[in-house]
């Protein structure tokens, strides 16, 4: 066989085998809560009874940067909204992450409320608590509907009143608290959580992502002694958007106590 036909055959063979790098992948995506665990803070024993979370969308990116503008092209994404039970430690299927092979270093996501570039106001996605809906946060009558989280719990004073309610003349022995949280963003087109750290090489090998939320940790930033002073005798306290502990809750959800990302393969799942 002469060299020319061999060369031609090799080229034809190469054309059939070679391709561009990377591939599209779909990865099962699950959420997971944390079982309610009573914790004690400043004399108060706190137990959450409800933590209904709204979540989505999420983008997993190759950049190390926490600037969302550095993630105009994502490696993986989930675009829809979903509701999770933040207190249920079992696997809660969310859907499929869609994207490409590559290296993930950061995640950018929202808690069910997005502000699109093309919209004048943020909107709660379909699938989140009480969604879809327009969030008219600039209105004087704005009351958060809890598209991002709906919390219920109880706080019980287990120390003396001076410890539970320092400086207060009265101190309830216990109260129920409620918070409906809308995690909003300041500017359109930016996510609520920027640059959450997670590292994973995404290949075509099967794997699953589990995001684990810990609402108990979020509430550990709250001043229950101050909240107790808001009890008007009804035994219940509702956090409003102007309350500093509402802001502390949002900060915990978006910065201080971010969910954990667990990438598992079928072998590690066993």
């Amino acid at each position: 066989m002469t060299r020319v036909p061999i060369f031609v055959a090799l080229m034809l063979f190469a054309a059939g085998c070679a391709q561009t790098s990377g591939a599209f992948v779909e990865i099962p995506f699950e959420g997971q809560g944390t079982a309610p665990t009573a914790f004690t803070k400043d004399g108060w024993e706190v137990t959450l009874s409800q933590a209904t979370l709204g979540f989505g969308p999420v983008f997993f990116c190759a950049t190390d940067s926490a600037l969302s503008s550095r993630c105009e092209v994502a490696v993986l994404e989930y675009l829809d909204g979903t509701t999770l039970d933040g207190l249920d430690p079992s696997q809660q299927p969310i859907g499929l992450l869609f994207g490409t092979t590559g290296t993930i270093r950061t995640a950018f996501f929202d808690y069910g409320i997005v502000w699109l570039l093309t919209k004048p106001l943020p909107e709660a996605l379909t699938g989140v608590p009480d969604g879809p809906a327009v969030v008219r946060f600039e209105s004087a009558n704005y009351i958060p509907a809890g598209h991002s989280a709906q919390f219920l719990g109880t706080a019980t004073c287990v120390e003396d009143a001076a410890t539970c309610c320092p400086g207060a003349t009265t101190c309830p022995a216990a109260y129920e608290f409620e918070a409906n949280v809308d995690v909003l963003v300041v500017n359109p087109g930016t996510p609520a959580v920027n640059g959450a750290r997670t590292f994973q090489e995404i290949t075509t090998d099967p794997r699953t992502l589990t995001m684990t939320f810990n609402p108990n940790a979020w509430w550990q930033s709250v001043d229950f002694g101050r909240l107790a002073t808001l009890d008007d005798g009804t035994g219940s306290v509702v956090l409003g958007p102007d309350d500093p502990d509402y802001s502390a809750l949002v900060i915990s959800m978006t910065a201080n106590e971010l969910p954990a990302f667990t990438w598992s393969t079928p072998e590690t799942d066993q």
Binding site: S21, C71, D80
Partner: protein, 874 residues
Amino acid sequence: MKGIHNHNLAVLALGVFLSVGAPVRAQDEEPPPSDTAPEGDAGTKTGTAADADLHPPHLLSAPAPSYPAGREDGDLHPTVVLRITVTAAGEVTDVVVEHSAGLDFDAEAVRAVRTWTFEPATRGETPVPSRIRVAVHFEPPPADAPHEGESHDPQDTPHVTTGPPPDNLPATVAPATAADVDFEAKAEVDAEKLRAQDRGAADFTIDRKILDAAPAVSANDLLQRAPGLYAANVEGDAAGGFLYLRGFNAEHGQDIELKLGEVPLNQPSNIHGQGFTYLDFIVPEVVKELRVIEGVYDPAQGDFAVAGTVEFDLGVEKRGIYAKSELGSFRTFRQVAIFAPKDKDPDTFGAFQFRRSDGFGQNRDGINGSALFQVGFGKKDWRFRLLGAFWGARYNSAGVLRADDIADANVGFYDVYPYPTARAQNAFNAGGILGIHGENRGKNRKNTSFDIYLQMHDFRIQQNFTGFLERSQVNPDWVGRGDLIEQRDRRFVIGGKARHRTARFEPAENAKGTIELGVSGRVDLINPQQQNLIQAPSNQTWDRRVDADIVQADIGIWVDLDWDFSEYFNFKGGVRADVLFFDISDNLGNFVPDFRPETFIPGFRRTAAGIVAGPRLAATGKPTEWFDIIASYGEGFRSPQARTLVDGEIAPFTKVRSLDFGVRFRLFPEEQLNITLTGYRTWLDNDVFFEASEGRLENIGPTSRTGFVFYAVTNPLPWLVGSLSVTYVNATLDGPPPRTVENPTPAFDEGDLLPFIPPWVIRMDIGAGDDLVDLWKYPLHGHVGLGYTFIGSRPLPFSQFASPFSLLDLSARLSWWFLEVGFQVFNVIDKQYAGNEFVFVSDWDPETVGSRIPARHISAGRPRTFFFTIGIKL
């Protein structure tokens, strides 16, 4: 078939010239002598003392060739250049066509020259075989020439010149006796064209017959005839096409040097794309031939000659006045008018073109018009050519569509997105070119030429490839208004070139050649260059991205050696160097974001310069007269985008190294079958790709291409012509793309294919035309044509492949007397195909969360399009 005219009446003048393009060589048993026949001086002894006894052959009789049957009314004045062997007996053998004038003229010239007789070359007193080059010029018969069967008086043969023999014939040579015809010797060798050959096997000249074989209504349609070249229309008919050649995604011209005659058309540092070129002002009917030089092996090739060079040579062989109207699908109307004075050469003409169309599908309507003229003049040794071109075009554009939106029936394949910022896409192009070419052809291949040109271009495009992703940098509150990017590039260009090639000299036996020195210069004044985000329909500007004024200069110099070591081996070697200078006034440079205090005035003025040089080499082996082996190596460059340079930077050029090895066959001289087969490999140190979100090119890293080209042209019958090209390329990424903040570890595997490059490009053109029957003493001439294109499966990012597709174009026309009617059909099978594909992030749904995963986008290719044509020839 119409009868053949009497030979004596058919030819007005026969030019015979003993060429200096090829040396007179004695052959066979005798050792090859030095060339002793300087141009125009066939009868004198020249050369060194060693060649003192060598005398060239002299023409004794030269029966005239006939003007080819069926061509008498065509008003053509072609010249065929032949290389022949004159035996020791003075007979002609081994005739090879070196410069074709069309296959029927070639055949007739070959037939005629075989009947010539010579006094053979001699060494001392001994006759020896020799090789010489002759030119055969054809003049059409006068309109009142008698037809076959009619009586004529030999005395009434006005074409026969009488008078003394020309000075370049020795007095000892008897004049021609066959017909008692004295003849006039003229210099007809197209030295410039001959010089450029043998640079590489993949050097193709596509003449009018092939260009005219299949349907064509634009210059991009003509480009499809070039082996391995694929042209896709993505942004409408005012924005230029996307070009692919030899594994290069040349975008709008970044990797292909495009020329109109000697005038370079690429626009360096164009904001829409480096080397942006607009070709649709060229009237395809006045393109005489397309010269495609694949690879970069000629020192005369300059900036952007990375994949190669394509030259549009203009000329009109059929003299007279010609007007054609085309009416076709999608309310398309095209009017062409050409005037070519009958008493002038083919390079003198004027042409006008106007076209309007609603376009196939939504948002593709527009109009364009252009006027071209070229005037050839000059006497004796100096020949000049004045070129003028003026044009205007404005077309709307449908842009690109997401493949998933088409699959989900959210938008039709030929539609445009329903948003104002999508429907506002359009392009505008206007400009003019003036150029003058002068050439002095001296003796013994001596040649001096110059070119001076002025150009003015105004280009504005508004396009939205990405939907609703952009936000303003000027005011962060301005978001979501649609990604309608407006780019503007207006420039004035002045440039020129001069070259001088020495006469052939022979410092030693078996060593003879020429040296050429050339210089070129070009200055581009780009004012302004702008990029903004605008909001339809009133085009309010809501972000400013680029506002610059640029002055860019390119000074080039080259030296080129053309050397024959024997009749079997030729070497061409040269070096080219270019020095580029950049002056950039970036009015938005050092931009102060809204959230930062202003501590300085925006603006960033800077200058940069750089130099690039590289060899251009070619070695040609000629073991037989019908077979060449050519090996070539060359290094070329592409200049950088001016705005990417920092102050004082040594301008980084994209360097290309190219290697070709191929063979050429010239088979069956009577039937004219020419075959070329060449393999090549090309390396590029820093490639670029189209970044849709910015509408411009970004760096991708080093790349290489390996492939082959097969090209065959045949004229088996006088009325039948065809060509076939098969090109294959394996284009790969040779290193990881540059790291960025967005992606510190871009994906890369050894051998990754370059996306979007079609691995297989196949093109076939077939034309058949002949006189069918005489109607009322005028022939009814019919012509049918076929063009077939196959584009192989293009690799896409993320291990995907685009679907391959085939396109079939047909044409047919009848000509009778002064009338011509016909039709052209493009994409006969109405194949729905993606003319071009991209993969990038876009968001075309303003109501939902947009995906950030790169997705396939397509620009629809032309569906079946029908044109009815009617024309008048005077």
